[in-house]
């Protein structure tokens, strides 16, 4: 059975309440086509995991699709300022912000990837993050009797990763920085790849040394050219400054849904199962 789905089918397969690990970093290679489809299908109660998020988390918060965010940092880059919808959702109590130290997200995903309940974290030694959050705990190292901080493992239900190319099996290549995407693909119960292009398997064999995510880990693939826009995708397109600036001006959900609709043709263009 083919792993390829339309974007609509792939998003339908994600249940409300799922814990989603989102690939990319801040304004780079976020799986935006998938995120926009989550908003079109009015998904609810999503639990988001990412070291450093921006537009993806902000957009999902803007339409009340989120209940929890586990992240070390949520903000646009300096020139675009702070994420208004994420902040508002946290400040009004709609979203629970589980602040991490980026590294503790990595440690929590490493825990999931090796299926242990927690990971020791060397650097997290001081401060209120330890006291205020139930996913951090200081215990006595049973060997040395010294204090050691633990972070509870985070087991994502689905990792959503946007890549440059994959084949029909999901063997996927990310060009340029990988951020936490490879780790996410090992930590999540399911992996959904959205891809700029799908190569035939015989063509992908020529690049097998460069495959970052082997196909057997991948449940589904979605052809989504321009699927990271308006964030950047290395060698394909840069950040869409105009789009981000107009998004950041929106106040109402109507404006936001209309804006998402402007991407519909582009987001849904990969539905045919053709090679390109």
């Amino acid at each position: 059975m083919s792993k390829q789905l339309t974007l609509q089918e792939a998003v339908s397969s994600v249940a409300n309440g799922s814990r989603l690990a989102l690939g990319g970093n801040v304004l780079h290679r976020a799986p935006m086509a998938f995120v926009r489809e989550l908003t079109r299908q009015k998904k609810k109660d999503l639990k988001l995991v990412k070291t450093a998020g921006a537009h993806d988390i902000d957009l999902l918060c803007a339409v009340d699709a989120v209940s929890v965010v586990d992240a070390g940092f949520v903000s646009y880059e300096t020139v675009y300022g702070l994420p208004p919808h994420y902040r508002n959702s946290v400040q009004t109590g709609k979203v629970k912000a589980n602040e991490h130290a980026c590294y503790t997200v990595i440690s929590a995903l490493r825990g999931a990837s090796t299926n242990v309940p927690f990971m020791p974290v060397n650097g997290l030694k001081y401060g209120d993050l330890i006291d205020k959050n139930d996913y951090f705990l200081v215990v006595e190292d049973p060997f040395t009797k010294e204090p050691v901080t633990l972070v509870r493992s985070i087991f994502p239900d689905v990792a959503i990763i946007h890549v440059h190319a994959c084949d029909e099996e999901g063997n996927a290549i990310i060009e340029g920085p990988k951020y936490e995407d490879i780790l996410m693909s090992r930590a999540a119960e399911r992996v959904i790849i959205t891809t700029e292009q799908i190569l035939p398997s015989h063509a992908m064999k020529q690049y097998k040394d460069r495959i970052d995510i082997p196909g057997f880990l991948v449940s589904n693939i979605v052809k989504a050219p321009n699927g990271a826009k308006p964030t950047a995708c290395y060698k394909k397109y840069d950040v869409d400054e105009k789009a981000l600036r107009s998004f950041l001006k929106f106040k109402t959900q109507d404006e936001i849904y209309q804006w998402v609709d402007q991407y519909s043709n582009s987001d849904h263009s990969g539905k045919r199962r053709t090679f390109a």
Binding site: N25, E77, Y86, E99, Y126, K235
Partner: protein, 240 residues
């Protein structure tokens, strides 16, 4: 010495002067000013400084394409090798990261850093972006340097609303002065030549600690000329 400089130039040069040859130095997202400072140091007195960043590009030869981001693929494109964020954190945990550049919104005299919330953590008045790597890097990097382009009583407070972290904080560079963290206290290291001790105190909510007033070194002509070459689009000023 030169008088033809802006505060962003001065801060960049001050930070560059804090860096030594062969040090491993990391900056994160939204960190254009320290990124430029690292390149200035590398192009002047610290040619073997090791530039580490989130996307993982070790020693990118140019930073001219980092227009909106200090965490973009351009840093990998122009790099010598690949060493991404998770490995940089591991490096710091092993005690082998010399310098980390970090931000923050509030700081107090005891060296506490707040990058998390204003108000209550669970029902915040203002949700801030979060400390990113601060809570593990400030305790483990040998020297943590903070830069902040605002210096007022809401930034340098009596007591932070929330202690995101503390630890091996070394210096805080602001538009008015440089603080040094010594003997568990934030002390005045130097004030910039364009200000006065009174102005710094008026904008700081805790009493300044100092033996005598030292003035920050001005940017040199050579530094300012080099800045024009390595940062022609003035990314060092995006926060101003």
């Amino acid at each position: 010495m030169s008088t033809d400089y802006r505060i962003s130039d001065l801060m960049t040069c001050v930070i560059a002067n804090l860096l030594k040859d062969r040090e491993t130095v990391f900056h994160g997202v939204s960190s254009q000013l320290p990124m430029v400072a690292m390149h200035l140091a590398k192009n002047m007195h610290a040619p073997n400084l090791v530039h580490l960043n989130i996307p993982g590009g070790v020693n990118p030869s140019s930073i001219k394409q980092s227009s909106f981001s200090s965490a973009g693929a351009d840093l990998v494109d122009k790099s010598e090798s690949y060493f991404p964020l998770d490995e940089i954190f591991d490096l710091s945990m092993r005690g082998k990261l010399d310098v980390a550049f970090l931000g923050g919104i509030q700081f107090d005299i005891n060296g506490n850093v707040n990058a998390s919330v204003i108000g209550d953590y669970n029902k915040p008045k203002v949700r801030l972006p979060g400390g990113a790597g601060s809570a593990v890097l400030i305790p483990t990097a040998k020297k943590a340097i903070i830069w902040r382009t605002k210096h007022d009583k809401r930034t340098f407070v009596k007591e932070v609303d929330f202690k995101t972290t503390r630890g091996n904080l070394w210096k805080i560079v602001t538009p008015l002065c440089v603080f040094v963290y010594k003997n568990g206290q934030l002390q005045l290291d130097s004030i910039h030549p364009h200000t006065t001790i009174e102005e710094v105190q008026e904008n700081t909510a805790f009493p300044l600690i100092y033996d005598h007033i030292t003035y920050t070194e001005l940017p040199t002509k050579a530094q300012l000329q080099k800045l024009k070459i390595i940062d022609p689009y003035d990314y060092r000023s995006v926060e101003f």
